[in-house]
Subunit: 336 residues, 2 copies
DNA sequence: TTGTAGGCGTTATCAT
DNA sequence: ATGATAACGCCTACAA
């Protein structure tokens, strides 16, 4: 079934059928009615390949997600999906593992699908620096700030990771903790890892709390296993501490498991705080103290920004959204 | 850049260029070398739209995932991705929310992308019954058994949910529990919900343990919140029990939170077991007893089956893969 | 082994 | 307001 068949069936020309199908002006009420009815009856659908071949680009929006099985990204995807569903644009989601280069992947996807725009969930500024020049469509990266990059077609929306970590560690200090250790990301590789590390250090420094990178920090992967290993390593190094801050909730969960495996109670013996504010955290025992990234809001804003750029030619923006400190059961005041 | 440009550049005709690009026979070594080099240089890529428009179908494989943020499915997707990456076929992943009709979505995707085959992660037999007839390409559903459906182009690979639940409840009984309550899925809507429920009942019945659906069962959504509500409801009904079986790990996690909110300890006061065997479970405190679905294996088999059907014209099969009972800390022997 | 040419389903330009 | 028709980039008989 093609528009040719539809034309034959209704007695109109293909051009008219095409006009109706695309809501173009300059079609009589009558033609519209007749043709639409034929469309209903036959369940006809335009051939996307032919359409895109002709138009040289799709009307779709792409989401490139870096890392499968990331709960924060899942929430983000859901938010984005419901947001985009209200528009006319089809949405495609593409998942890569954490190690892949999201920008190179996007370059490829652009050639293949010629989408209107791309939403990146996560991304490394190193990759963008190197290869984003090859991309000429509108993009926004969510979750990582890219304001230092200055591409005219690249926006970003994120929380201030550094500031958020500063606040998170502040709460630990405010509760009396002075021996604090950190489990975080690889600072050289991960922008997020670096920003969060620096935020933590700022707080520590501001409070005059000594910190020895060698002894008090472990760089691991953003996973349960990473958190477990990092904490275990710290524990077995013999370093003493009363609080552990993990740069992600999944790491915090792994760390708690490690503490328990060493016979320590959370938060009685050691306080633990995480980062991300996953829903999961509020179901754990004890509930996980964390820093909430507003997934709903970030998803919504990223779509709004992208659409503004696409539809109204708005300029790229770099938006910082507010985080929230979640003080819950896994952190207790320090007591002798 | 098109094959026409490539033809002009190399002095060959478009047909020859096309042949080289598609690995057709009947091209001279020389032509192949010259053209491939030009391709390398220019970074040329075929226009998928034109190709598919012409061929009337793509060479891609589609994964339709029912439910975002499902850790088991994430593991499955990863397994499938790495498996398919070794082949020539491009892979596309499409996510729907739990309520959408995956078959209707697939019908639409077939029209749009004309893929070679589809892998369904999750799916309701009701939807397949109603609309799978409209799909004429090869499919396999993973995680749900579809052997009762008898479509010649539909395979499935799954564990035996019923038997797995029977075994899981058996272990509870073997540990002395006689007052067991269940939090599961909506049996009318969800095949999985029903199969698991029935498996539990079989075990209970076999051991002569009384069970009152009204009082001992709560049907909820497959989520933390669902598990929380289900358990809370049971708790507040005043029903006495020593063990709770949840038809999914996420439900079990929610249930444990509810128990703790009521001042009960797991497993000291109440034992809890879940289902799915998520990695997360082994990091929780206490570690979650569960039934492991072999994500790696299911992913691998589903791809193997699909490729066998596509490439060798193999017949549809319905495969049952083994599950494993994970006995861990959240279940304790019953003691007076 | 290589080249020529028609057509896949659609949109858009130009007439009418 | 409607119709005829030329592309879009590719594949594939068919011809050479």
């Amino acid at each position: 079934m093609t528009i040719k068949d539809l034309a034959a069936k209704t007695g109109y020309a293909v051009a008219t059928v095409s006009r109706v199908l695309n809501n173009h002006p300059n079609v009589s009420e009558k033609a519209r009615t007749v043709i639409m009815q034929a469309v209903e009856e036959s369940g006809f659908q335009l051939n996307a390949n032919a359409k895109q071949l002709k138009q040289q680009h799709a009307t779709s929006i792409l989401v490139v997600v870096k890392g499968t099985g990331n709960e924060l990204f899942s929430e983000l995807v859901e938010s984005i999906q419901s947001q985009v569903a209200e528009t006319q644009y089809p949405l495609f989601v593409d998942y890569l593992d954490e190690e892949s280069n999201e920008v190179l992947r996007a370059v490829q996807l652009c050639r293949e699908k010629k989408p209107l725009g791309i939403l990146f969930l996560g991304g490394s500024s190193r990759n963008f620096q190197a290869d984003f020049g090859k991309i000429d469509i509108l993009c926004v990266v969510v979750t990582n700030d890219m304001s230092h990059l200055d591409f005219p077609n690249l926006s970003s929306v994120a929380i201030d990771d550094r500031e958020a970590c500063r606040c998170a560690v502040d709460t630990l200090v405010r509760k009396g903790h002075r021996k604090i250790v950190l489990v975080g990301g690889e600072r050289v590789i991960s922008d997020t890892g670096r920003a969060r590390y620096e935020g933590c250090l700022e707080s520590l420094r501001a409070h005059g709390i000594p910190f020895d990178e060698e002894k008090d920090y472990r760089a691991v992967r953003f996973s349960y296993e990473g958190g477990y290993r990092g904490a275990m390593d710290l524990l077995e190094s013999g370093r003493e501490f009363t609080a552990l801050f993990a740069a992600a909730d999944v790491m915090a969960i792994g760390a708690i498991r490690a503490l328990r495996d060493k016979g320590l109670q959370v938060p009685e013996d050691i306080s633990v705080a995480g980062f991300d504010g996953l829903h999961l955290g509020s179901y754990l025992v004890p509930k996980l103290s964390s820093v909430a990234q507003p997934a709903q809001k970030m998803g919504r804003r990223s779509v709004e920004i992208l659409l503004a750029c696409i539809e109204d030619g708005a300029a790229a923006v770099h938006e910082t959204v507010p985080f929230a400190i979640l003080e819950r059961g896994s952190v207790a005041p320090y007591r002798e």
